[in-house]
Amino acid sequence: MSGWKTCPKPLPGDWIVISAGLLLVVMLFLTLWHGEHAAKLRIRQGDTIYATLSLDQERTLDIHGPLGNTRIVIHQGRARFVSSPCRNQYCVHQGWLSRASQVAICLPNQISLELLGAKKSYDSLNY
């Protein structure tokens, strides 16, 4: 063994690869973590879409599921489960959803929330 005190020197091509890798990582962070602001909230109840609502409103909804009433609140461009009759309360603990494509699901009461980005919402709108 020649010892670990001397560190091998990267060659010029290595620096190009390292730089390209760094650039790729930064690009990925910028494009995938910019947190697209959600425009709409889609609520599913059972196997049907219960409603697709704009997040640009203050609203409280009570939705009836197999176990009882689930309360959902839309507030300042965010949405969350406020109360649910389910046992483990995972949906409520999920807290506020604010970015596009975030999801909160209550399996026992068969209700789910999904935030839609501006782009996706145009695909699904029908007038």
Partner: protein, 171 residues
């Protein structure tokens, strides 16, 4: 009357078996180390693959890498499970990249380059399988920057270690 079955092995077979055993050992050791995020692992067994690629040839490296994937999964008890498929997908895409990357001029590109490229190919192959088969949801893209960062970091470290090992003249 019982007949003894004799398999004739060559020196190459013995060498591949020895190197694969080393890779399997590293793979198992790494499997025991807990990771803060599932999937973010240093991939130290890839040092063996890269070392073999430079010291011997691509065919030997492919043998060692794939034997490592199969044997480790049998030892860890996840053969044919999603973990195994992910491991295999990562190994195959890495090997594909190494097959191309080894043609790069040695004067300019050391094993560090190949290590980084293989690490990126590894996560790309794995995330592709995750996206297409295990979690068909765009949310997977959210994890991509973390995996890419890990790939770059561990790619550089593993590449430095491999270069260091190759500089040692003993066969």
């Amino acid at each position: 009357m019982q007949k003894n079955i004799i398999i004739n092995t060559t020196a190459d077979d013995h060498r591949i078996a020895r190197l694969a055993a080393l890779a399997i050992g590293l793979h198992i050791a790494e499997a025991i180390i807990p990771s803060p995020l599932p999937g973010v692992k240093p991939g130290i067994a890839n040092i063996v693959t890269l070392y073999v690629l430079y010291r011997f040839d691509f065919a030997t490296a492919a043998w060692v890498s794939l034997l490592r994937v199969f044997a480790s999964s049998l030892l860890l008890g996840n053969f044919l499970s999603p973990t195994f498929v992910l491991s295999l997908a990562g190994a195959l895409s890495s090997l594909f990249t190494l097959a191309l990357g080894v043609k790069l001029p040695r004067r300019w590109f050391s094993p560090i380059s190949l290590s980084i490229l293989a690490a990126f190919a590894h996560i790309a192959g794995q995330l592709l399988v995750v996206r297409l088969w295990l979690i068909p949801h765009t949310g997977v893209a959210y994890l991509l920057p973390i995996f890419a960062t890990a790939a770059l970091l561990f790619g550089v470290i593993n590449g430095l270690i491999t270069t260091k090992l190759l500089a040692d003249k003993r066969p």
